[in-house]
């Protein structure tokens, strides 16, 4: 027999991680959506769920960063996150504060706010 190459991967296939789902129809998540864990992992949870909850326990973590930590494609991470969100284990929010700084459209908003304030 030929010597087999060694496998350094995990034997999990992506469809077993997602339970066969491949698409998210929810627009709530994108790459930079920040994820915060609401509670600690419960025993018997899927290991990816546990890992996500541990990673997001102390600080908000972006979807893309979770993807990098878990070594899973973003779409798969999104499916996992939606499961967690639907069961109330995590909350998600958009990093609006981080992106407004360089955004020209937000300057307009700020000006309008300033005008509004002055009008008070």
């Amino acid at each position: 027999m030929n010597p087999r190459p060694l496998d350094f991967d995990d034997p999990d296939r992506l469809y077993t991680v997602t339970g066969g789902r491949s698409r998210v129809d929810d627009d709530a998540l994108d790459l930079v959506t920040l994820v915060v864990a609401e509670n600690d992992p419960a025993p018997g949870m899927q290991s990816e769920h546990v890992a996500i909850l541990r990673l997001c326990r102390h600080e908000p973590v972006a979807v893309v960063e979770l993807s990098s930590h878990l070594r899973l494609p973003v779409s798969v991470v999104k499916i996992l996150l939606l499961d967690l969100r639907d069961t109330g284990h995590i909350t998600v929010r958009h990093p609006t504060s981080a992106t407004t700084v360089n955004h020209p459209a937000d300057l307009e908003t700020l000006k309008q706010v300033l005008v509004g304030l002055e009008a008070l």
Binding site: M1, N2, R4, P5, L6, D7, F8, D9, D10, P11, D12, R13, L14, Y15, T16, V17, T18, G19, G20, S22, R23, D30, L31, V32, P43, G44, Q46, S47, E48, V50, A51, R54, L55, C56, R57, H58, E59, A62, V64, E65, S67, S68, H69, L70, R71, P73, V74, S75, V76, P95, A98, T99
Partner: protein, 537 residues
């Protein structure tokens, strides 16, 4: 003959006696006639002399004949009496012989005594003829006895030879040819050849046929194993490439199709693994680190058609040591496939894993029709023996494969009725295949995984919860780089650098940089995003 020889003297004696009787009678009659002649006168004397002489002659003749006859009869009476006496004597002796020593004599001869000795011991037979008769009988019996004894000895020798052939030589020959794979000629040379020519021919013929059959079998198995190995290599390569494509196109429409394809190739890989195992080959993959039980179960699920029906329940954090992980996965896959195939289409197959003292018990329960007693016994038999392609029960390979794997890794598989209505298959993964040092896949670098799991040696067990927690703690030493390798490269035979250039630990700012990078990537195309999230590529 004696009678005929004795007739002449008998007749002569009778004649002698008759003659003397006649002589005496004639003298007496002559005297009486003389007296009468003296008494009568001269005239009638002539007449009287003539008449008297004639009468005297006749009387004397008659008396002589009567005397002859009487003597003759008397002699024959005596003779008859003697003959009768002789006959009685002979009959008596014969009877004595037949009733007495003859049966004993024959018995002794049957028992193997030499005829001369036996005859010497026998009381001397007075009669010459009887003696010869007895001798002839004795010699005849002895000769036939000798022949029979020789035939018996030859038969016994032949029987011994055949028995030795059947009990010793043939098993040894079969063993040599089957197990030691030696040729028929050299196997025969090592064994004592039967003396009987026909038996030797038989043995030679048998050995030749057996060796030929064995060669055919071995080459068929080797061909099977080698073909299966190629399919295994191809499927492993395809799976690696598919994973690469899945990573690249994970947000495209094609992602679902890729997953489908991945699923089909995984099933194909299991089939190839089954054929390889049954034909004496090896599993398609080897894992270099302990594999978490959850991954083992999911790896098994991923190889069956209706994996979505499988529900896994476990809180165990145990892991299966790397060298056995593939076998356990494969065995579980076959059992799950059986469970899914033999239960209603929409029903769930439940998989439970619990840690016990003896190891980890994985239970696969379905809600199908269950098995009858005979089916269950047959299944138990199949999984407890290591069958190969030449002794397969039929077209269904699954349980035979499980049997092979169970034998290889010491798994214990048993079947029992399930409380859900179907069958519960209980698989015990023995303790020596279980470890708790599984490193969390999400936090492990390639280098670490190689170091922590030397092949074949279970890593020292650690506190499971602690291992888990420390491995997954967010602030843990930064290993969040992507240990990228070219997935296809595992199969090219070129050595993949396992611990290849260890990535520099990321500084705390790196995470933020990644975040910024991805944040700005929001406005990029998908392709750019992918490359952003896989910086090494």
């Amino acid at each position: 003959m004696a009678t005929r020889a004795g007739r002449a003297p008998i007749e002569r004696a009778a004649l002698e006696r008759a003659f003397w009787t006649w002589m005496i009678t004639a003298i007496v009659a002559g005297g009486a006639l003389l007296g009468t002649l003296l008494a009568v006168d001269g005239q009638s004397r002539t007449l009287v002399a003539a008449g008297g002489g004639a009468a005297a002659l006749l009387v004397s003749l008659a008396i002589g004949v009567a005397a002859y006859q009487a003597e003759y009869a008397r002699t024959y009476r005596d003779r008859l009496a003697w003959v009768e006496n002789e006959g009685d004597l002979l009959e008596h002796r014969l009877r004595e012989l037949v009733d007495g020593p003859l049966p004993a004599l024959i018995e002794r001869l049957h028992a193997g005594a030499a005829p001369d000795e036996t005859l010497a011991e026998l009381r001397a037979v007075p009669d010459h003829l009887l003696g010869r008769l007895v001798r002839m009988v004795a010699e005849g019996v002895a000769a036939s006895e000798h022949g029979a004894a020789r035939a018996r000895a030859e038969l016994a020798a032949l029987e011994d030879e055949v028995a030795r052939l059947a009990d010793t030589t043939l098993p040894a020959l079969i063993d040599r040819i089957r197990r030691d794979r030696v040729s028929a000629a050299s196997a025969l040379a090592d064994l004592p050849a039967p003396e009987h020519a026909a038996l030797e021919r038989l043995l030679r013929e048998f050995a030749g046929n057996l060796a030929a059959g064995e060669r055919t079998r071995a080459s068929a198995m080797a061909a099977c194993a080698s073909a299966a190995a190629r399919i295994q290599a191809q499927t492993t390569r395809m799976l690696a490439q598919l994973r690469e494509l899945e990573d690249r196109y994970n947000e495209d429409e094609v992602f679902g199709d890729l997953l489908d394809l991945d699923h089909h190739v995984s099933q194909l890989g299991r089939l190839a693994d089954s054929i390889a195992l049954l034909s004496g080959g090896r599993s398609g993959r080897r894992w270099t680190k302990p594999i978490k039980l959850e991954s083992v179960i999911r790896g098994a699920m991923g190889r069956i058609a209706s994996y979505q029906r499988v529900q896994y329940h476990s809180t165990s954090t145990a892991a299966v040591v790397g060298f056995a992980a593939e076998g356990v996965m494969h065995a579980l896959a076959e059992l799950m496939d059986n469970a899914a195939n033999f239960s209603p289409h929409g029903s769930a197959v439940h998989v439970y894993a619990e840690e016990e003292d003896a190891g980890v018990v994985v239970t696969i329960e379905d809600s199908g029709l269950g098995m009858r007693q005979r089916e269950r016994e047959r299944a138990e038999r199949l999984v407890s023996e290591t069958a190969d392609l030449t002794s397969l029960p039929g077209t269904r390979l699954g349980l035979a494969v499980v049997g092979r794997l169970a034998g290889k890794h010491g798994l214990r598989v048993s079947f029992r009725p399930s409380s859900r209505g179907g069958i519960g298959v209980v698989v015990l993964i023995p303790r020596q295949l279980i470890t708790h040092s599984a490193t969390d896949a999400t936090r492990t670098t390639l280098a670490e995984s190689v170091r922590s799991a030397p092949r074949g040696v279970p890593a020292p067990a650690r506190e499971p919860a602690g291992a888990m927690a420390s491995a997954a703690a967010p602030g843990a030493p930064d290993t969040s780089y992507l240990p990228k390798r070219r997935r296809g490269a595992t199969l090219t035979g070129t050595v993949e650098p396992p611990a290849a250039p260890a990535p520099p630990p990321r500084d705390p700012g790196a995470r933020f940089a990644a975040f910024r990078q991805s944040a700005s990537g929001r406005h990029r195309t998908t392709g750019d995003t992918a490359s952003a999230h896989e910086p090494d590529q």
